[in-house]
Symmetry: C2
Subunit: 356 residues, 2 copies
């Protein structure tokens, strides 16, 4: 196949978005798109290019005092009868338009058109963000080649609809158990009903008042939600076991350890088991490139509430933020689309910030 | 196979119990035992015998003013490494010893040894009591040949450990739903959590005070138990649906309609769906044969809390009670057994009552 990412296409981030969308790249099937991207980056000449699996890394080596990573994932969720792309007025429709090939287009356009940026730049186009983290290209690079990620700031071009969303909240899931004693329901008083006992746990959830925390001007709104409940043995048995899964979304001023301590306090007296946990990431907007980026964009940052790959950079001590043209509410939707105006705005902003 | 229920065996209800136990007859596999029982009854001469599937009915036609049914099921739960039977001191061990071949032995012994009872007697040895009611032999007879069941009193020889347990409680299962609105748990405040909403339902269960009701000297203790709870969509989704299954065991002074009205009152304001229901049965101990039975046994009756086939007789307007030598707590247990003394006591009591 001839590479559809021709020099002409690369010159216009809107045209480039469509071209990238039209290279189907569902998670675990990113070889073709990674080949096309690697080819383009190698031809650029001013970049040093490396590859790991279907993740492609390219960087400038200009000896600048500071380095910025621009990162985007190449994969999409499964196609939902929404390829190839179509254009209706100012909108490009298609799988991956918002999440996040429009963001990838901004980075790839910069990579080939800006040989002399204000900071040294590292471009990272990675595989398998939409699936289990064992396949996540950013994760694999962090393990195999952590030096590829070293920088003073990372910008993930995930959909934010042109806003700056900094850091991210952590997430922890715990299972809370209640125990009882089995009995036949015809002699219910001989048993202790573990489902009835769960009432007191639900009461604590109802009475819970989540915090709202502001850090570096970014506001994080916490939440504590039951996400599953289960119990019961048979239609005529008083059950001796019930469990509930609870998801805490916590602001990045709490560590995972502190989040767990908080949950132990909320569910004091109950058996509690952690089933899943990921740390948050502080916004880290005090670094010079971040301050300059905020100046270039002219917007106040907001806190990112969902968990994103910025936390993987934070775990390496690298401040990270999300900034992309897509609308996050449209990610994974069958009518996924992106506004052409948002792509042009985003490209102009990045140039304003990065062109020396 | 020669019929192991020989004339000698039939003369002793203890020996007969062992012989019946040793004819394996797990539900849906009752042909052999039904053949043996039918053969014995036909040979008795004074009985008129009929068969439906693996259910055998035999009756006297002496023109007595009153008729009593003696009924027992031939099937057992699956064998649990507890056949053939063994005897240790006063105990016979084995699958079905308590539930309810010792009871069947009492009836079969009477059938062949008491040609001239005080009332006309109908013996009913039926299949498939331990499984879904569509297979239940008593049920099938009630549909196909309701006249076989006509009587002034029915005695089910289910295990009661030699007590008289009269009538039975009804049972009703309802599903109570709570609804909410889905949202991502990172933005939990945009949703309404249906699991949290279930807290108020559980509170009503915790606060519930069940009635204790005495009818004809029999005490019935009601109960309201959650038997299943379920809800949840994914680990990061505020769920919009949760449901709980609740089992009401109700005294026979309530009809099914009244039981439902009661549940509608308890769960007022919630969506409620009946998933299963069976009426209770009044003890009906005022009929003459019942009063004479109580006099012969010399014990106060108790209310039956679990649902049993007596309710099938009650539905036909026939008072019914449970009376058998087995211990109900041992039914379905791997170490199921019956006391030889209880078999002899039961046989003597029935003779005292029924021999003219």
């Amino acid at each position: 196949m001839a590479n559809p990412l021709t020099p002409d296409v690369l010159l216009d981030p809107v045209v480039l978005t469509r071209a990238l969308v039209d290279i189907e790249s569902v998670s675990r099937d990113e070889k073709v798109i990674a080949d096309c991207v690697e080819d383009v980056l190698r031809k650029a000449g001013h970049l040093s290019v490396r590859r790991l699996g279907n993740t492609v890394m390219a960087r400038t080596k200009l000896g600048r005092a500071q380095r910025v990573v621009l990162a985007g994932h190449l994969d999409t969720v499964p196609v939902n009868d929404n390829l190839p792309s179509t254009v209706v007025d100012d909108l490009i429709y298609g799988c991956g338009t918002s999440d996040m090939k429009s963001g990838v287009a901004l980075a790839l356009h910069l990579a080939v058109t800006l040989p002399d940026p204000r900071y040294d730049l590292t471009y990272l186009f990675y595989e398998a963000e939409e699936i289990e983290s064992e396949y996540n290209g950013l994760n694999l690079v962090a393990e195999a080649h952590p030096k590829w990620l070293q920088a003073d700031l990372a910008v993930l071009l995930e959909p934010t609809y042109g806003l700056v969303e900094a850091g991210c909240q952590g997430t922890m899931r715990v299972r809370v158990h209640t125990r009882g004693r089995r009995a036949h329901t015809a002699r219910a008083w001989r048993g202790v009903n573990a489902i009835h006992a769960m009432g007191a746990v639900l009461r604590r959830l109802e009475d819970y008042h989540p915090r709202t925390v502001t850090i570096d001007g970014c506001t994080y709104r916490e939440g504590l939600s039951a996400v599953r409940i289960g119990g019961g043995i048979a239609g005529n048995v008083v059950p001796d076991e019930c469990s509930i899964d609870v998801n805490l979304r916590f602001a990045p001023d709490r560590s995972e350890k502190q989040a767990l301590e908080h949950l132990q306090e909320v569910f004091d007296g109950y058996e509690l088991e952690v089933t899943d946990s990921a740390p948050g990431a502080l916004p880290g907007l005090s670094a010079a490139p971040a301050r300059e980026f905020l100046a270039a964009i002219g917007l106040e940052p907001a806190g990112k509430l969902g968990w994103t790959d910025v936390a993987r950079f934070a775990a390496l001590g690298i401040p990270a933020l999300n900034y992309g043209p897509g609308d996050p509410a449209l990610a994974h939707a069958p009518d996924e689309h992106v506004e052409i105006g948002k792509i042009r705005d985003g490209s102009a902003t990045l140039y304003r910030w990065l062109a020396d």
